[in-house]
Amino acid sequence: MDAASLGFWTVPLAMLGGALRVSPPFLFVSLGECITEKSGRVNLGLEGTLVMGAMAGFGAAHHSGSPWLGVLAAGTVGAVFGLVHAWLCSLRRVHDVAVGIALMVFGTGLAFFLGKPLIKPTAPQLPALDLGAWSDAPALRAALRINVLFLIGVALAFAIRETFRRTRIGLVLRTAGESADAARALGYDANRVRAVATIAGGFLAGVGGSFLSLYYPGSWNEGLSSGQGLMAVALVIFARWDPVRCLYASLLFGGAGALGPALQSLGITTGYYLFGAAPYVLTLAIMIATSSAERTLAGMPAELGAAR
C-alpha cells in the first residue's frame, strides 16, 4: 500500500513508530526499577506488577469511563505490590530476588483471576497527539502519533535524574544504595528508604501496565505482557542506572520489538517468531557485552552486589 510511496523508508519508519508505541511500558518499568535499584534493592516482580497494572487500569477505566483514573488505579495497585515486596524484604533472611519471583507468579495469577470478566468489555483509551499532522505521508503520520503518557514518561526520566542529583530525597536514596551504614549515619534507615523506593518503583511499573491495556495494544487479555517487566530490569543494567539512559534504551528495545511487525507489513513473514525474539536476543547480547566476570560494573549501586 503506502509501502510503495515511501519505498526504502517503510521499515525504519515503522520501527520508529513501533518504538514510540511499544517503548512506554519499558520506559515506565525501567524508571521504576531504576529508582528501586538506586536504593540498593532489586525488584524482579515488576513483571507481575505490570500485568496487575494493566488489568487494574483497564478495569478502572472501564467502570469509571476515564482512562486517567485507570492510570491512577494501575499506579496505586503497583504501589501496593511495591509495599508488599518491601515488607517481605525487610524480614530477616528473605532474599529480594526470590521475593521478586514470587510476586511475579502471584501478580500474573491474580491479574488473570480478577481480570477474567474484563476480557470482552472495552475501555476508553488514552489520548494521543498527532505530531505528524503536517505531513501527507500516512506512514509518517502513523509513526508520529504520540501518546501523552509517553511524553509524561520522557519528562519523568529527566525529572528523576535531577531528583537524584539535586534533592535531599535523591541524595538519601543514592546513599542507601551505596552503603546502608552511611545512610544510617545520616539518620535514615536504609530499609525504610528502600521501602519508599520500591513503592515508587511499583507505582511507575503499574502505570506502565496501564499503557498496555489503555493504548497499545489497548485491550485486556492474558497474553498482554510478554516479559517487558523482566526486560526492563536488564535494561536498567544496560542504562547504567541512569534514568535518561533508560529512556534511550527503552526506545531501542521498542524499536527492536517493532522489527517483526514492520517486516510483516512488507510481506516478509518467514522467521516471524524469530524476529519477535529480537528484543530478548538484544537484551541478552547487551548483557553479555557489558558484563564481566572480573570487573564490577561502573555506576552500579554498591549495595546491589547480588544483582549483577
Binding site: R166, T167, L171, V172, A182, E294
Partner: protein, 511 residues
Amino acid sequence: MSATKPPRLEVRGLGKRFGSFVALDDVSLDVAPGTVHALLGENGAGKSTLVKSIMGYHRADEGHVRLGEREIVPKSPREAQELGIGMVYQHFTLVPNMTVAENLVLSRPRLPFFLDWPKEHRDLAAFMSETPFQVDLASPVRSLAAGEKQKLEILKQLYLKSSIIILDEPTSVLTPAEADEVLGLLHEMAQRGQVSLIIITHKFREVTAFADEVTVLRRGRRVGGGTVKDLTPAAMAEMMMGAAAPQSVRPARSNAPARAEIRLETQKLSANDDFGLPALSEVSIGVRSGEIVGIAAVAGNGQEELVEVLAGQRQKASGRVVVRGIDYRATRKESRLHKVRCLPEDPLRNACVPPMSVAENMSFRKFDEPPFALASLAISPRAMARSAEKLIADYRVKTPSSLTPIASLSGGNVQRAVLARELDGDVQVLIAANPCMGLDFAAVAEIHDRIRKARDAGTAILLVSADLDEIFALADRVLVMSEGKVVHETTPAAADLRVIGQCMAGQAEHG
C-alpha cells in the same frame, strides 16, 4: 572556622564490661583545649572501647565524661556529633560513587530539600580555603588516593564544626609521607587552638612527633602516660607490653637459605583490579625454600592482587607464576602436587564458607581424597569430623563442636581454624597476607611462631603485610611494593626505615 577554643574533655573512672570480660577498668584522661592526645596500646587493650564509650556507641558501666563545665552522656554518635565530638574511623566511611562535594554535603545534619549545587560548591570552596586540607570537590571519591580520602574524612569533621576529633589509627592506610603531612597539619590546627585531637595509634614515632600528651592502655587499664616530652619510646613500649615484654631479639635462623632451591617465582607477573585497571605490573619475585620474603606495601599498591593471583582468586593479565620450575595456575591438582597453601587476610571472607561447619571448612584441602572421599566420589562426614577434632585440639580452636557453622566463631578462632587447615601436613610454599590483622597479642605471637616453624622446616613463605613490625619480626628479605611494582629490596638487618618509607610512598630510586 570557629574562633572559640574547643572545650576541655575530661574522662573520669570509666569502666565497661562485656559479660564477664572487663574491657575497660577505671580509666581517666584529660584533653586540654588545643592539644593532641595520643591513646597508645596493643590491639585489644581497650582503646576502641574507650573512644566508643565517649562517642555513645557503648554505655559505660561506671564513671563519667565531662565536656567543659557539664557532664555528657551521648546515647549515639549522632548526639556526640551535636556536642561537637566527631570521630574519624579506621575504615573509610565515604560513599565511593559520589563526589567529594556530595559526600561533604551529605554529612550535614539538616539538608535542604533542593540543593543549589553552584552555591554549595562556592560555600564548600570558601570553607576549604580556611582549612589546610585541599581536595578537588568535583572528583568522585572512588578516584581519590588513600591520603586524600583520609583528608576528606577529616574535612568532614571540620565541616561539621567538630571541635574535638577522635582519629582511630588514622595512618594505617597511608604512606609515611602522607601520614606525616596529615598529622602535621592537624597538629598545627591544634596549636592554633582550633581543635583538640585524640589519636589512637600504636606507632611510637607518631606519638613523639605529633602528640602533646599520651595515655597508655593495657588490658583495659590505664598503665601510664603523661607529657610526651617526658617519655621515651622505650618507656612507652614497656608500659604497653608490661613487664613480660618480649625481647626484640629475633630467634636465630636455623639455616641460611641462600643456596636453597627457588620454590615460588613470579616472572613479569601483571594483573588488573576489580575495575579492570592495571594493579600489578611485571612483578618478578623469587622465594627460596626455608626463606620468608616479606612484602611491605601500603594498602592498594597491587599486593592484594598479587596474593589473589597466587591464591587462584584472580586471573593474571600476563607473565608467569612458577612453582618448583613448573608453570603454576593454582588449580587443585597443582596446589596439591606442590603443596602450596595460603593464609589470606580476612579469612572468613577469603578462605571460609561461613554457613558450612568447622569440620567441613577444615576439610577444604582434602575432602576429595581418601580417606575423606570414598572411591573419589562420596564424601565422608565422619572422617572429616575426626580429622577436624584433632586439628581443633592441636591449634586450640575454641568452638562448641566441629559441627558448628564457622561463621559463629570469633575472628581469632576462625583464623586459627584456617591456619590449622593450611599448615596441616607437609607445606612446600605458603602465601600469607596480613595473617594477624585484628588479633590480640597472644594470638599474634602464636601465629608468628607457627610461621617461623614452617620456615625452619623448609617452607618457602611469601608474607605480605601492612605492618612493618610484623615484616621485620619475620622476614629474611624485605621487598617494598608501590603502585604495582617492586621498588626496593633489603634485609631487616640492613634496612633503613626512612628509605623504606620513601619507597612505600612511591618516591623511590627504581630498581
